[in-house]
């Protein structure tokens, strides 16, 4: 199959390169898992690479005892669920309306959407607007501003337009209005696109931390990513004990082997777990989603 010597050299080089590359991509994750499962004091002696040396679950126990981290986890779950469901629903309704040719002003509405993809007011005016709307320190700042995504609207619209027209017409004849057609005919047929966009949106919500860091100062409203960012930042700067709440600190003092490093690794693993859990689905749909998106371009 590989005719010349040059070809064989190239193929071997590619295989070796890809193996090394894949391993080094994976290594940081494996290393973090190993550290999170290792006794903190033991880790401090150095030498942990892929496997825990002194296995323990203490790091995770401390994480699960820290009320702040757990409340962050709950907030993250809440905002992901509420944010995804509401955004997908709102965007689907909007996109369906935009597919209708008889919609008055459709061309202008579309222009209004497209323009926002090229120009935005920037961070500070948005920040001041959110502030004037009284959305500081409110859970809704996670949900409402990102309710309608123009990009998602275009993907939805393209999908809806590809559905057979006859179905909608027969629903109309049977007395279905636009809303009825959307909910009884169109949405039930849109499984793949809904799955893809929901995954996009959910992963985005779970990973988002910046919005909370500028709009939220109440600790009980912070998502876990933002809390984690604060913990890691204080670790990098001072390499001291992460600021935990009293209960967790007491537990940590009692456990004795837990260090801030082993603790932050455990927290990171907890914050990553949902992503790893949905990853198989993500892979299946995302690849399609990316291609849908790029076809539009």
């Amino acid at each position: 199959m590989y005719s010349s010597r040059g070809d064989r050299v190239m193929v071997v080089f590619i295989y070796v390169f890809l193996i090394v590359f894949a391993l080094s991509t994976l290594y940081p994750f494996l290393n973090a898992i190993a550290i999170s499962l290792n006794e903190g004091l033991d880790t401090a002696k150095g030498g942990i690479t892929l496997w825990p040396r002194a296995f323990t679950l203490e790091n995770y126990e401390v994480v699960f005892q820290d009320e702040r981290l757990m409340s962050g986890f709950v907030i993250s779950v809440l905002r992901t669920i509420v944010g995804t469901v509401s955004a997908i629903l709102a965007t689907a309704i909007f996109s369906y309306g935009m597919t209708k040719r008889e919609l008055m002003g459709r061309k202008y509405y579309m222009l209004m959407c497209i323009f926002t993809m090229y120009f935005s007011g920037g961070l500070i005016p948005t920040f001041l607007l959110i502030r004037n709307l009284g959305m500081f320190n409110s859970f809704w700042v996670y949900i409402i501003p990102s309710l309608i995504g123009v990009w998602n609207m275009i993907i939805f619209r393209t999908f809806f337009q590809g559905l057979p027209q006859g179905l909608e017409e027969s629903a109309k004849i049977d007395g279905c209005g636009n809303w009825g057609t959307l909910f009884r005919i169109v949405l039930p047929l849109s499984g793949p696109v809904i799955a893809t966009l929901s995954l996009f949106t959910a992963v985005g919500h779970w990973n988002e931390w910046f919005v909370a860091s500028i709009y939220i100062s109440k600790e009980e409203l912070l998502p876990i990513q933002t809390i984690l960012k604060q913990i890691l930042a204080s670790n990098i700067v001072s390499e001291q004990t992460a600021n935990l709440d009293a209960a967790a600190q007491a537990h940590m003092a009692q456990a004795k082997t837990v260090t801030s490093k082993s603790l932050s690794m455990a927290t990171m693993m907890v914050a990553t777990l949902p992503i790893v859990m949905v990853y198989p689905f993500v892979q299946k749909y995302f690849v399609k989603g990316v291609l849908v998106g790029s076809l539009k371009e």
Binding site: A44, T49, G97, K100, M112, L128, N207, E297
Partner: protein, 324 residues
Amino acid sequence: MARLSVDQEMQPAMPRVPYKRRSNGFARFIRQIDLQLMVLPALALIFVFSYIPMYGVLIAFQDYKIGHSFTGSPWVGWKHFAYFFHSPDFYTVMRNTIVISLLKFCIGFPAPILLALMLNEVRKMVFKRVVQTITYLPHFMSWVILGGLVASLLATDNGSLNMLLERLGTIQEPINFLSLPKYFWTILITTNVWKEIGFGSIVYLAAIAGVDPNTYEAASIDGASRFKQIYLITLPSIMPVISIFMILAIGNLLSAGFEDILVLAVNPALRDVSDVIDTYVIRVGINNYRYSYATAVGLFKAVVSVGLLTIANYVARKSGNSLW
């Protein structure tokens, strides 16, 4: 659907048609109110969260006071722009923005193409799938997690990199990589490539899959080596895709993300090499409350970005691959 569009097209041609039905705009609007109610709330949201901030850009020309409306503060003309251009921060911020963007572009843009070309040469499907699964993974992690992983790898107390270098004997003392300016750009770019290379390769792999297999067969009968086939068939075939993504990348040159910098450049000692326009806007605007000044800096960036996009598209149109 069909009935309605016929209706619309026929109207101008038959002036006398419907007596009562000859609807003025408003009546038609009311009749399709259920449809309008599908789109108007969403448009209202877009108006509020996208267009009002655009209008809010006006505060770049004012001395904005908290609690006033976007036009309620005293106008000061180009004062904030002039201040930015003359401030000592200007040189640092612009240099870092340009250097970091160019590095990201020059390394981060071709990297996924290279990976896709390599993956395409792999004939063992299982191996290909495994490599893809692993390399896509970092894309789905937040920057906070990736920043934490990098910090842990590079840490002085038994970070893996320091352990490796010590074992190899290249260094005597552990190096605190994340506090030394000279390493920052390398770390930043490497982390970016790590996060996005796999995911970025998807589009190119799809483009490569669309190349007619007969072309390769013909080439190999004519004696072209595998390398030559990549160079002479695969690359030219996916050129349209590459150039579209290149235009997009150039348009985003100045806004190539700030989360990575916020997460990796925690140490203030790095500010000299890590401050880019976006992080500067966040620091002076949100942390130091200089809203008008920060808006001016942000507006400056937006204008340069639009300019870059226009130029990139102009060049691409000349070569036949336009975005618009």
